[in-house]
Amino acid sequence: MENQEQTPDLFELQFDENAKSKIITMTKWSLVIVITSLVGYVLAIAKYFKQKSELGNLSQSEGAEISYSFGNTTSSNLFSIIISILVGLLLTYFLYQFSSKTKKGIEAMSQYEINIGFKNFKNYFLVIGILCILGIVFGGFVLFSILALYNQ
Protein backbone atom coordinates (compact mmCIF):
# COMPACT_ATOMS: atom_id res chain seq x y z
CA MET A 1 0.00 0.00 0.00
CA GLU A 2 2.78 2.34 1.03
CA ASN A 3 4.71 1.41 -2.10
CA GLN A 4 1.68 2.13 -4.26
CA GLU A 5 1.44 5.65 -2.78
CA GLN A 6 5.11 6.37 -3.45
CA THR A 7 5.23 4.99 -7.00
CA PRO A 8 3.79 8.04 -8.84
CA ASP A 9 6.55 10.25 -7.31
CA LEU A 10 9.21 8.13 -8.98
CA PHE A 11 7.85 9.01 -12.43
CA GLU A 12 6.87 12.59 -11.69
CA LEU A 13 9.06 15.48 -12.78
CA GLN A 14 11.02 16.61 -9.72
CA PHE A 15 13.13 19.47 -8.53
CA ASP A 16 15.98 17.08 -7.70
CA GLU A 17 19.40 18.13 -6.38
CA ASN A 18 20.68 18.67 -9.94
CA ALA A 19 17.72 20.89 -10.95
CA LYS A 20 17.84 22.76 -7.65
CA SER A 21 21.54 23.64 -8.02
CA LYS A 22 20.90 24.92 -11.57
CA ILE A 23 17.95 27.03 -10.43
CA ILE A 24 19.96 28.46 -7.51
CA THR A 25 22.73 29.50 -9.96
CA MET A 26 20.07 31.07 -12.21
CA THR A 27 18.70 33.08 -9.28
CA LYS A 28 22.19 34.25 -8.22
CA TRP A 29 23.03 35.51 -11.71
CA SER A 30 19.57 37.08 -12.04
CA LEU A 31 20.37 39.08 -8.91
CA VAL A 32 23.69 40.14 -10.49
CA ILE A 33 21.74 41.33 -13.57
CA VAL A 34 19.26 43.20 -11.33
CA ILE A 35 22.04 45.00 -9.43
CA THR A 36 24.03 45.91 -12.57
CA SER A 37 20.82 47.15 -14.23
CA LEU A 38 19.97 49.40 -11.28
CA VAL A 39 23.50 50.83 -11.14
CA GLY A 40 23.32 51.26 -14.93
CA TYR A 41 20.13 53.36 -14.63
CA VAL A 42 21.81 55.61 -12.06
CA LEU A 43 24.84 56.00 -14.35
CA ALA A 44 22.57 56.78 -17.33
CA ILE A 45 20.93 59.61 -15.35
CA ALA A 46 24.36 60.87 -14.18
CA LYS A 47 25.60 60.79 -17.78
CA TYR A 48 22.55 62.77 -18.92
CA PHE A 49 23.14 65.51 -16.33
CA LYS A 50 26.88 65.59 -17.10
CA GLN A 51 26.16 66.06 -20.83
CA LYS A 52 23.47 68.64 -20.01
CA SER A 53 25.86 70.73 -17.94
CA GLU A 54 28.57 70.46 -20.62
CA LEU A 55 26.11 71.52 -23.36
CA GLY A 56 24.74 74.25 -21.07
CA ASN A 57 28.21 75.75 -20.71
CA LEU A 58 28.67 75.58 -24.49
CA SER A 59 25.31 77.23 -25.24
CA GLN A 60 26.03 80.04 -22.77
CA SER A 61 29.12 80.92 -24.72
CA GLU A 62 27.47 80.49 -28.18
CA GLY A 63 24.19 82.42 -27.74
CA ALA A 64 20.40 82.15 -27.75
CA GLU A 65 19.83 80.11 -30.96
CA ILE A 66 21.92 77.17 -29.80
CA SER A 67 20.36 77.46 -26.36
CA TYR A 68 16.86 77.00 -27.87
CA SER A 69 17.79 73.91 -29.91
CA PHE A 70 19.74 72.56 -26.94
CA GLY A 71 16.61 72.88 -24.78
CA ASN A 72 14.56 70.82 -27.26
CA THR A 73 17.24 68.13 -27.58
CA THR A 74 17.75 67.70 -23.83
CA SER A 75 14.01 67.47 -23.08
CA SER A 76 13.53 64.77 -25.74
CA ASN A 77 16.63 62.97 -24.42
CA LEU A 78 15.29 63.13 -20.89
CA PHE A 79 11.95 61.74 -22.06
CA SER A 80 13.61 58.78 -23.83
CA ILE A 81 15.84 58.12 -20.79
CA ILE A 82 12.82 58.13 -18.44
CA ILE A 83 10.87 55.75 -20.71
CA SER A 84 13.87 53.40 -21.03
CA ILE A 85 14.40 53.40 -17.27
CA LEU A 86 10.70 52.76 -16.54
CA VAL A 87 10.62 49.80 -18.93
CA GLY A 88 13.94 48.59 -17.54
CA LEU A 89 12.62 48.85 -13.98
CA LEU A 90 9.63 46.69 -14.89
CA LEU A 91 11.93 43.99 -16.27
CA THR A 92 14.25 44.36 -13.27
CA TYR A 93 11.28 43.97 -10.90
CA PHE A 94 10.20 40.68 -12.53
CA LEU A 95 13.77 39.39 -12.52
CA TYR A 96 14.23 40.35 -8.86
CA GLN A 97 10.96 38.65 -7.90
CA PHE A 98 12.02 35.53 -9.81
CA SER A 99 15.40 35.55 -8.10
CA SER A 100 14.24 36.11 -4.53
CA LYS A 101 11.03 34.02 -4.52
CA THR A 102 12.49 31.04 -6.35
CA LYS A 103 15.62 31.00 -4.18
CA LYS A 104 13.51 31.18 -1.03
CA GLY A 105 11.19 28.48 -2.39
CA ILE A 106 14.00 26.10 -3.29
CA GLU A 107 15.74 26.58 0.06
CA ALA A 108 12.55 26.20 2.10
CA MET A 109 11.05 23.60 -0.31
CA SER A 110 7.98 25.81 -0.62
CA GLN A 111 5.87 25.15 -3.71
CA TYR A 112 4.00 28.43 -3.23
CA GLU A 113 7.17 30.56 -3.42
CA ILE A 114 8.48 28.56 -6.39
CA ASN A 115 5.18 29.06 -8.25
CA ILE A 116 5.36 32.84 -7.72
CA GLY A 117 9.05 32.83 -8.73
CA PHE A 118 8.42 31.03 -12.02
CA LYS A 119 5.38 33.21 -12.76
CA ASN A 120 7.75 36.18 -12.61
CA PHE A 121 10.24 34.27 -14.79
CA LYS A 122 7.42 33.91 -17.36
CA ASN A 123 6.46 37.60 -17.01
CA TYR A 124 10.07 38.63 -17.61
CA PHE A 125 10.22 36.86 -20.99
CA LEU A 126 6.65 37.97 -21.81
CA VAL A 127 7.50 41.66 -21.34
CA ILE A 128 10.69 41.33 -23.44
CA GLY A 129 8.68 39.55 -26.14
CA ILE A 130 5.97 42.24 -26.20
CA LEU A 131 8.66 44.97 -26.31
CA CYS A 132 10.29 43.23 -29.27
CA ILE A 133 6.93 43.03 -31.09
CA LEU A 134 6.34 46.75 -30.42
CA GLY A 135 9.88 47.51 -31.59
CA ILE A 136 9.36 45.56 -34.82
CA VAL A 137 5.99 47.27 -35.50
CA PHE A 138 7.46 50.71 -34.77
CA GLY A 139 10.60 49.98 -36.80
CA GLY A 140 8.50 48.73 -39.72
CA PHE A 141 6.32 51.85 -39.54
CA VAL A 142 9.39 54.12 -39.59
CA LEU A 143 10.93 52.14 -42.47
CA PHE A 144 7.72 52.36 -44.55
CA SER A 145 7.40 56.08 -43.79
CA ILE A 146 10.97 56.67 -44.98
CA LEU A 147 10.35 54.59 -48.11
CA ALA A 148 7.09 56.49 -48.81
CA LEU A 149 8.87 59.85 -48.43
CA TYR A 150 11.73 58.66 -50.63
CA ASN A 151 9.30 57.58 -53.42
CA GLN A 152 7.42 60.92 -53.46
Binding site: M26, K122, C132
Partner: protein, 140 residues
Protein backbone atom coordinates in the same frame (compact mmCIF):
# COMPACT_ATOMS: atom_id res chain seq x y z
CA UNK B 1 21.60 7.55 -1.64
CA UNK B 2 18.70 7.51 -4.10
CA UNK B 3 16.30 7.51 -1.16
CA UNK B 4 18.09 10.55 0.25
CA UNK B 5 17.72 12.34 -3.06
CA UNK B 6 14.03 11.42 -3.12
CA UNK B 7 13.70 12.93 0.36
CA UNK B 8 15.12 16.29 -0.69
CA UNK B 9 13.38 16.37 -4.07
CA UNK B 10 9.89 17.68 -4.57
CA UNK B 11 7.55 17.55 -7.56
CA UNK B 12 7.26 20.29 -10.17
CA UNK B 13 3.64 21.38 -9.66
CA UNK B 14 1.25 21.85 -12.59
CA UNK B 15 1.15 25.60 -12.01
CA UNK B 16 4.97 25.82 -12.14
CA UNK B 17 4.97 23.63 -15.26
CA UNK B 18 2.47 25.99 -16.90
CA UNK B 19 4.65 29.01 -16.06
CA UNK B 20 7.74 27.23 -17.41
CA UNK B 21 5.91 26.28 -20.62
CA UNK B 22 4.66 29.84 -21.12
CA UNK B 23 8.12 31.29 -20.39
CA UNK B 24 9.49 28.72 -22.84
CA UNK B 25 7.13 29.89 -25.61
CA UNK B 26 8.29 33.49 -25.19
CA UNK B 27 11.95 32.44 -24.89
CA UNK B 28 11.52 30.39 -28.09
CA UNK B 29 10.01 33.44 -29.84
CA UNK B 30 12.93 35.63 -28.66
CA UNK B 31 15.48 33.08 -29.86
CA UNK B 32 13.84 32.97 -33.30
CA UNK B 33 13.95 36.80 -33.38
CA UNK B 34 17.66 36.57 -32.51
CA UNK B 35 18.30 34.18 -35.41
CA UNK B 36 16.29 36.41 -37.81
CA UNK B 37 18.30 39.43 -36.63
CA UNK B 38 21.53 37.52 -37.33
CA UNK B 39 20.25 36.71 -40.81
CA UNK B 40 19.50 40.41 -41.40
CA UNK B 41 23.01 41.38 -40.22
CA UNK B 42 24.45 38.84 -42.70
CA UNK B 43 22.33 40.22 -45.57
CA UNK B 44 23.32 43.84 -44.74
CA UNK B 45 27.00 42.81 -44.56
CA UNK B 46 26.80 41.11 -47.95
CA UNK B 47 24.89 43.98 -49.61
CA UNK B 48 26.54 47.01 -48.01
CA UNK B 49 29.69 45.60 -46.36
CA UNK B 50 32.20 47.49 -48.51
CA UNK B 51 30.43 50.84 -48.10
CA UNK B 52 30.21 50.38 -44.33
CA UNK B 53 33.90 49.52 -44.17
CA UNK B 54 34.79 52.75 -46.03
CA UNK B 55 32.58 54.83 -43.71
CA UNK B 56 34.17 53.17 -40.67
CA UNK B 57 37.64 53.90 -42.10
CA UNK B 58 36.76 57.58 -42.61
CA UNK B 59 35.19 57.93 -39.15
CA UNK B 60 38.00 56.30 -37.20
CA UNK B 61 40.83 57.56 -39.44
CA UNK B 62 42.67 54.25 -39.07
CA UNK B 63 44.49 52.74 -42.06
CA UNK B 64 42.46 50.33 -44.18
CA UNK B 65 43.87 46.99 -42.94
CA UNK B 66 43.56 47.91 -39.26
CA UNK B 67 40.06 49.36 -39.82
CA UNK B 68 38.93 46.23 -41.64
CA UNK B 69 40.36 44.04 -38.89
CA UNK B 70 38.75 46.06 -36.08
CA UNK B 71 35.37 46.21 -37.83
CA UNK B 72 35.46 42.47 -38.50
CA UNK B 73 36.34 41.77 -34.85
CA UNK B 74 33.47 43.94 -33.53
CA UNK B 75 30.97 42.40 -35.98
CA UNK B 76 32.19 38.88 -35.15
CA UNK B 77 31.86 39.50 -31.39
CA UNK B 78 28.33 40.94 -31.69
CA UNK B 79 27.36 38.10 -34.02
CA UNK B 80 28.81 35.42 -31.70
CA UNK B 81 27.16 36.83 -28.56
CA UNK B 82 23.70 37.12 -30.17
CA UNK B 83 24.03 33.66 -31.72
CA UNK B 84 25.12 32.08 -28.42
CA UNK B 85 22.37 33.73 -26.36
CA UNK B 86 19.73 32.82 -28.96
CA UNK B 87 20.95 29.24 -29.05
CA UNK B 88 20.83 28.97 -25.26
CA UNK B 89 17.28 30.34 -25.14
CA UNK B 90 16.22 28.02 -27.97
CA UNK B 91 17.77 24.98 -26.24
CA UNK B 92 16.40 25.94 -22.81
CA UNK B 93 12.88 26.49 -24.10
CA UNK B 94 12.68 23.36 -26.22
CA UNK B 95 14.34 21.00 -23.69
CA UNK B 96 12.24 22.18 -20.73
CA UNK B 97 9.09 21.80 -22.86
CA UNK B 98 10.12 18.31 -24.02
CA UNK B 99 11.08 17.38 -20.45
CA UNK B 100 7.69 18.44 -19.10
CA UNK B 101 5.65 16.73 -21.83
CA UNK B 102 7.61 13.47 -21.70
CA UNK B 103 8.19 13.55 -17.91
CA UNK B 104 11.91 13.15 -18.61
CA UNK B 105 14.00 14.40 -15.69
CA UNK B 106 17.32 14.40 -17.61
CA UNK B 107 15.92 16.47 -20.51
CA UNK B 108 14.21 18.86 -18.06
CA UNK B 109 17.52 19.35 -16.19
CA UNK B 110 19.37 19.91 -19.48
CA UNK B 111 16.88 22.67 -20.32
CA UNK B 112 17.46 24.28 -16.93
CA UNK B 113 21.22 24.05 -17.57
CA UNK B 114 20.76 26.04 -20.79
CA UNK B 115 18.74 28.70 -18.98
CA UNK B 116 21.44 28.81 -16.27
CA UNK B 117 24.20 29.37 -18.88
CA UNK B 118 22.02 32.04 -20.52
CA UNK B 119 21.78 33.96 -17.22
CA UNK B 120 25.53 33.55 -16.53
CA UNK B 121 26.46 34.92 -19.98
CA UNK B 122 23.88 37.71 -19.69
CA UNK B 123 25.20 38.58 -16.21
CA UNK B 124 28.81 38.74 -17.41
CA UNK B 125 27.75 40.93 -20.35
CA UNK B 126 25.84 43.30 -18.07
CA UNK B 127 28.88 43.62 -15.75
CA UNK B 128 31.08 44.43 -18.79
CA UNK B 129 28.52 46.92 -20.10
CA UNK B 130 28.35 48.60 -16.69
CA UNK B 131 32.16 48.85 -16.57
CA UNK B 132 32.26 50.46 -20.04
CA UNK B 133 29.53 52.94 -19.03
CA UNK B 134 31.40 53.82 -15.83
CA UNK B 135 34.69 54.30 -17.72
CA UNK B 136 32.92 56.44 -20.31
CA UNK B 137 31.32 58.57 -17.57
CA UNK B 138 34.24 59.06 -15.20
CA UNK B 139 37.29 58.94 -17.46
CA UNK B 140 36.22 60.43 -20.80
Amino acid sequence: MEQNEQLFSFPVETSTQRSLLSAGSWAFFLSILGFVFLGLILIVLIVAGAGMMNAFKTLTSIDSTAAAGLAMLIIFLVFAVIAFLSLLLFRGASLVKRGIYSNDQAVFNAGLASYRTYFIVYGILSILSLLFTAVDLFIN
